[in-house]
């Protein structure tokens, strides 16, 4: 299991490959990998965003992410998990978050991955401040509910 806070840009696919090739000692054992990549959009609440700054509560972030993985392990049969999250200045099209769950079967992989990203969105201590192309700055005040996307 790996949880990492990244102050620099990272390539999610390179990271998955690197983890599979080194840390993940389960070749032939996992049949299902569910991956979520969150990417910075150049638009939020109908405003053009130029750059975003991600603040976090160092220590609590890692602790909470570890708790989410433990909770997922208690609910689903999973083999391993990888979570990377950017902090600092982020530009549109850069990766913000990567969640990967390896399991024998797809139901467990999907549900655990979804659980972890929903927990992260609602409980991991990260905060986004956007700088719009109009130069206005604003704190993002609320995450959307991933389960009720269509009703928002």
């Amino acid at each position: 299991m790996q949880i990492r806070i990244c102050p620099e840009e990272f390539d999610p696919f390179h990271e998955i490959q690197a983890f599979q090739n080194t840390a993940l000692d389960k070749a032939g054992k996992y049949g299902a990998t569910s991956i979520f990549v969150g990417t910075m959009r150049d638009l939020n609440d109908d405003k053009d965003v130029e750059v975003m700054t991600l603040e976090h509560y160092e220590g609590m972030t890692e602790k909470q992410l570890g708790i989410f993985v433990s909770e997922a392990q208690q609910q689903w049969q999973i083999l391993d998990a990888l979570i990377l999250h950017r902090v600092g200045k982020i530009l549109p099209d850069q990766t913000i978050v990567l969640v990967v769950v390896w399991a024998s079967h797809r139901g467990d992989a999907f549900d655990a991955c979804r659980y972890i990203i929903e927990a992260l969105k609602s409980k991991a201590p990260f905060w986004k401040k956007e700088k719009l192309t109009s130069k206005e700055e604003r704190w993002v005040t609320k995450n959307t509910d991933g389960y009720l996307q269509k009703n928002n």
């Binding site: 969150g38 991600l54 603040e55 976090h56 509560y57 220590g59 609590m60 602790k63 909470q64 999250h85 913000i96 978050v97 990203i117 992260l120 969105k121 609602s122 409980k123 991991a124 201590p125 990260f126 905060w127 986004k128 401040k129 704190w139 993002v140 005040t141 609320k142 995450n143």
Partner: protein, 82 residues
């Protein structure tokens, strides 16, 4: 009766940090303190804004949770990561 003096580290994040103009405080008290008490000791007449979340030693807690000597108490707005 011997009273212990408690020392509590307080931290603020994101928009709350900007609103109150500080990122850290140190408060001390001689009696049992709740998280709300910690806020009041550190911020006097400034009310704890609505929707603010609290953590003790990096775990979420309710505002009526009691703190212990050496604890780190944090206050912050709803999270927006991911």
């Amino acid at each position: 009766m011997v009273q212990t003096i408690m020392s509590i580290k307080v931290r603020y994040f994101a928009s709350l940090k900007e609103t109150i103009g500080k990122s850290e405080d140190e408060v001390s008290g001689e009696r049992t303190l709740s998280v709300s008490d910690v806020w009041r000791l550190a911020n006097q007449s400034t009310e704890l804004p609505e929707n603010i979340l609290a953590a003790v030693n990096m775990d979420y807690v309710g505002l009526d949770t009691n703190v212990n000597d050496g604890d780190e108490v944090a206050f912050f707005p709803p999270v927006t990561g991911g």
